[in-house]
Symmetry: C2
Amino acid sequence: MAYEREAAILEVTSVVLGAARDFLCREGFVELLPVMLAPVTDPLRHTTDRAILEAYGTSWHLTRSMIFHKQAAVRVCRRIFSFSPNVRLEPAEWGKTGRHLFEFVQLDLELRDATRQEVMALGERLFLYVMEAVRARCKGELELLGRRLPSFQAPFPKVTYQQAKERYGEDFEQKLSQEAEAPVWVVDFPIEVREFYDREDPTRPGILLDMDLVYPEGYGEALSGGEREHEPGRILARIERQGLDPKAYRPLLSLAEEGLPPSAGFGIGIERWVRYLCGLAHVREVRLFPRVPGEPSLL
Amino acid sequence: MAYEREAAILEVTSVVLGAARDFLCREGFVELLPVMLAPVTDPLRHTTDRAILEAYGTSWHLTRSMIFHKQAAVRVCRRIFSFSPNVRLEPAEWGKTGRHLFEFVQLDLELRDATRQEVMALGERLFLYVMEAVRARCKGELELLGRRLPSFQAPFPKVTYQQAKERYGEDFEQKLSQEAEAPVWVVDFPIEVREFYDREDPTRPGILLDMDLVYPEGYGEALSGGEREHEPGRILARIERQGLDPKAYRPLLSLAEEGLPPSAGFGIGIERWVRYLCGLAHVREVRLFPRVPGEPSLL
């Protein structure tokens, strides 16, 4: 059969999407339609070009993450998620990392009144549920791809940013991922390496109530999230501390002045997840027409 | 409770997404990740501004529909669907129609080797399945919204474009929708009112093997689709006949030269579907932050 390998990867992707949705709906989540264009989007710490469309006399940013829309949506529904296409114009040389696409889909979710601990536990259950769904429903696909999925149990091991840095140096993610035998949490990022919306621990200034989950076998970051700043004064202070222009974040500040609830959540990239589950060399293989930084595409 | 109405509409939306996905997966479909940026997108007959992003030395069109990606994907999987965000920069005055958003999500699906008749039957089953799911799982939401859902049976009534035009004049969609007591198919559009990718009936030159489904109660178009042109010579002739530049569609022509299978499919707009199911005055109510032509948005 032609396209055997491509078909297997698409089937696994479809099972991941379906299983994640089933799991979240059973946990009381509501699926939101994704947002592609908005007056403001995630600033992101690492350098990416801005992707902007001019229309109807206004500038619309292509979504880099739905963080602010998630914070607004949990006013209406307690638990929400979206399969959200993100556009991040990363440097062309990142096309070679095996982990970067400039267009990808993120399962982005948020919980009103939740703590980091609750969200981490949810993340573990989601991860294991989807893994078991793929194991059970994609036997032939995994065999064709030569992939043997290991088994894990919650809770996953946990290290602090500080511990990871002491053990592996500043750029620890890759080494940590290569040595890990199970998915591993990294918690307590310092304020200067993350975005302003991750909540600072009130009892430990400069340390955030956030986390990443890192895949084993060198597949790098799985998900990233945390508790959120939701009080207008705190958000403003953090925007200024990150060196950003508060005027650009006026929409978020207005919502916070009306009242945003405390919340926590995370985003997990679908293509990287499928790459890990299928054991693929490059995330590009997950897409029929991948958007690799620096590369054109036939279609 | 604050946001009671908004929460009810979001819940119905989530049920529509989940039920549609369940139905399609049981019918053997594979869910594809949506495409947001591409070298080429749906030309669309009606006037819309082009939405283009420049990146990595190339022009990327924001998706107006995944038609060409669907045709390419059915080479790999027999039946595919995607919840696909579309950006269509419609004229500002269309903001008042009640039916237009410049960013919306389309459930876009395609079946290899299928006829129009098969796809219409699938569309009816999908429509009824999702309607029954909403009726069963959203009782409280429908009551809160004051919506009583009628009951329908397949097959839905069918008129040709020519019959509809004779009865209601050139712009028949709205009148047909207002008078209809059930969803109604319009079939056999003439070649000059539709896009080049809808297949011309080999036995009736100038008539297409395509269809629209129109909601009752004045809610207008539900879905639009048809069989596809898949032979390179036919595609080229149709591109030229529509007055488009074949160079712009080189990617599609290259794929067709490699070999595209015959296929048929349709797209159904999620926000309009939810508007109909909830009985809303304007499609804007389906979104927390709607993208209405000509209007700015807070977030």
